[in-house]
């Protein structure tokens, strides 16, 4: 028997030795001045006309420039590669003056590169062709001037030129190897790709030719993929990373308590709501839709589910340019909700279903909360928990009654969101609620042909008010996005558009 005991203890000893012995191996050493940032997903592609996921878009905005870009507070457009631009009186000719800038391979950025990139973005190969449909011709009178000619006035164009899909690529380098280009792309942005280890992260290094003097201050950045919220928090606490996106909201307070870590909430351009299929009874009745809006304690949801990191929504449109702060959200008023239901002929309530995306923890919680709130006015909602792809195609096919959903904006101009959320017919028919207001449609067409200013702003305000009254969805809240960084990081900020400008970040 003694032999067995020695066998067992030898094995145990071996195990005890393996751990510490391996621990001697050095953890990977990073150079000074490299920011380590964790996000939830890996990017998909660095081709700006082929992607729609946030990690890809955010990385592209660090590698490429656009002619214009949104200011950090998302209120106006500021110069990017174009140092100035003019729009002709008739609104049909846009002239851009390019600044002296170079791509990361040292080649100068020319008007030909801009023409090439915008043509590519508007071509059949592009997923975002529609954003460039207004451009009739692109002219390049000299190396640093680009002229866009339009057939009819299309005001959102400037904003679309500030989108990721309008990134300016070097024509020569691209055409030399179109199939390989996006594996290690060349751009004129503050950073360039050092390596992309799929599933692990993207290593960026400083673009030595970047046009903004003295920027970036960092030597580089490691954008790491850490899908699990707790893992991101643990790594931040252990000091293995400098910053992390999407901190689980219930851990924000305890994380900030240590002092070594700063937690922040960014006001991103996003609204969460419950889509109501107005093609189906009883949601065809505006009184029912308003009753549902009154039945929900939205303040309570912001406090309980978002831990206060958000605001109650007054319409489906995100809180962005031309939003109306005076427009009051539907209050929590169960008596009024019941009265409206009675008026509509549903005094005893009704039975319905609520579609919920199983991959979104916030929406799963919302589903439960909404179900019990609706029960108070006699509405029995059966929760249909489905995976993302099914959620999307079910909503798209109009095969639902109520669906928890959200929308977020890529641009700071409300045109794109309005077209998506409240215009019908348009590409999503008022985000598949099939809600229709002729006046909204009319204003949408007019807004696109009106030069930007207070007059156009008033049109958006009216559209938003109409959507508020028509209640195509239960407007819930504008949720913030949480993030955190260690106190040695300065200048790290998640912008309202969801991206971050790492060229402004410094490490102490």
């Amino acid at each position: 028997m003694t032999t067995f005991r020695s066998m067992v203890s030898a094995a145990a000893l071996a195990l005890a030795v393996i751990g510490p012995a391996l621990a001697v191996a050095p953890t990977s050493a990073f150079a000074q001045g490299v920011l380590k940032l964790a996000q939830t997903q890996d990017l998909v592609s660095l081709d700006p006309i082929a992607t729609s996921d946030n990690p890809s878009i955010h990385a592209q905005l660090l590698i490429y420039d656009t002619l214009l870009r949104p200011s950090t507070d998302a209120t106006k457009l500021e110069p990017g590669l174009a140092e100035s631009w003019t729009v002709s009186e008739d609104g049909l000719t846009y002239t851009f003056k390019l600044r002296q800038a170079k791509f990361s391979d040292g080649a100068p950025v020319t008007a030909a590169d801009v023409a090439f990139s915008l043509k590519r973005a508007g071509s059949d190969a592009s997923n975002w062709k529609r954003f460039f449909a207004g451009i009739d011709a692109i002219e390049t009178p000299d190396e640093r001037t680009v002229v866009l000619k339009l057939k009819s006035v299309f005001t959102p164009l400037l904003n679309n030129l500030a989108l990721f899909s309008s990134a300016i690529l070097p024509q020569k380098a691209f055409e030399a190897a179109p199939d390989k280009f996006f594996e290690k792309p060349v751009g004129s942005g503050p950073f360039t790709v050092a390596a992309w280890n799929k599933g692990q992260g993207l290593s960026l290094k400083k673009n030595a030719h970047y046009w903004q003097a003295g920027k970036p201050s960092l030597d580089g950045a490691e954008i790491l993929v850490l899908p699990e919220g707790n893992s991101r928090v643990l790594k931040l606490q252990a000091g293995e990373i400098d910053a992390a996106l999407e901190i689980p909201l219930n851990q924000m307070q305890s994380l900030a308590r240590s002092g070594a870590i700063k937690t922040e909430v960014a006001n991103v351009l996003r609204t969460d709501f419950v889509l109501l299929n107005t093609k189906k009874k009883p949601f065809d009745d505006v009184r029912v839709r308003q009753a549902l809006n009154y039945a929900i304690d939205k303040d309570g949801l912001v406090k309980a589910l978002l831990y206060g990191a958000g605001k109650v929504a007054n319409s489906p449109m995100p809180l962005m340019a031309y939003a109306d702060p005076e427009l009051k959200p539907y209050g929590h008023d169960v008596a009024k909700a019941k009265a409206l239901l009675k008026e509509a002929g549903y005094a005893d309530g009704f039975k319905t279903s609520l579609l919920v995306h199983s991959g979104r923890p916030l929406h799963r919680q919302l589903g439960q909360a909404l179900q019990s709130a609706l029960a108070q006015i006699g509405v029995t909602a059966e929760i249909r928990l489905v995976e993302g792809g099914t959620h999307w195609s079910t909503t798209k096919a109009g095969d639902y009654e109520m669906a928890v959903s959200y929308a977020s904006s890529d641009t700071i101009d409300p045109d794109q969101m309005a077209g998506f959320l409240i215009v019908n017919p348009e590409r999503a028919n008022a985000y598949h609620t099939e809600w229709k207001s002729e006046r909204v449609n009319e204003l949408y067409a007019k807004e696109r042909a009106t030069r930007d200013g207070p007059e156009r702003g008033a049109m958006f305000k009216e559209m938003i008010k109409l959507a508020h009254e028509g209640a195509p969805s239960i407007f819930l809240f504008y949720p913030g996005t949480s993030y955190a960084h260690r106190s040695n990081v300065s200048g790290f900020e998640v912008l309202p558009t969801g991206n971050f400008r790492l060229e402004d970040v410094k490490l102490k």
């Binding site: 094995a11 191996a25 975002w128 062709k129 699990e228 893992s231 293995e240 792809g389």
Partner: protein, 311 residues
Amino acid sequence: MLTYILKRFVQLVPVLFGITLACFFLLRALPGDPATLLLGARGGPEEIAAMKQRLGLDLPLWRQYLLFLGDILSGSLGRSVVYGQSVTKLVLERLPATLWLVAYSTVIAVVLTIPLALWSAVKRDRAPDLLIKLVFTVLLAIPSFWLGLVLVVVLAIWVPLFPTSGYGNGFVERLHHLTLPAFVIALATASLTIRSLRSGILNVLGSDYVTTARAKGNATARTMHVHVLPNALISSISVLGAHTSWVIGGTVVIETVFALPGLGSLFVESIFARDYPMIQGLTVVFAVLVVLINLATDIAYALADPRIRLD
């Protein structure tokens, strides 16, 4: 042996054919398609139609299936819809992490199983046996993501022996990074193999030839090595083989907690995105790997028990 292995590979052909057929048509039965999902909120009907045409999704199903088979026969698995790159390339990038996890966790599981099962069997119904049973039953019941996080807190934060997550570069660093995740998987495997090996040993211990061996005056250790263990191992090898096959595609949770670039998470992401070529390609790769593991299991039988012949 060589003929046997060759024969197994020939048998793989109809298996693969069946798998491609089932996978292809089951996928198409799911609601949603890659073009609609990839374009998401920004896609209107024209964009979706244009993309479907670019991806060849507007062709009749039977033609799409033949094209897919043609791709496989020409040694290619097609192009991922989401990544826009060759499926083979993407799989090869992710394969090492999965193979590492499979190999490392299997080694740890074996190292844990043999001594603990022996000890448990020898001390049957006494304190060590009961303790091992208790500990491993509890471990089997604990969700692996929780166990993973606890191990990270204890062994990476409180006592910083291991990194909290990640993959590392080079052999030693990788071994270091993968110890915790491999350990979590190995504990789940070991809780099954320890039980099966323990009962295997107890069965064999009761048989006549062991009594004979003991009566001949063989030392206990020798009896165990030569007579008991090889005979008791068979059932545990099949448990180990089955569990290892599961590890190939079933480590999504571990990959997520430890941020590892393995095939499991790629598979799940691809299903969510309905990335047809990627899912089809991965299914073929999984099938081949599982067949290889089964083959290795059979060879291990033959090595453990000379009465089993492979032909």
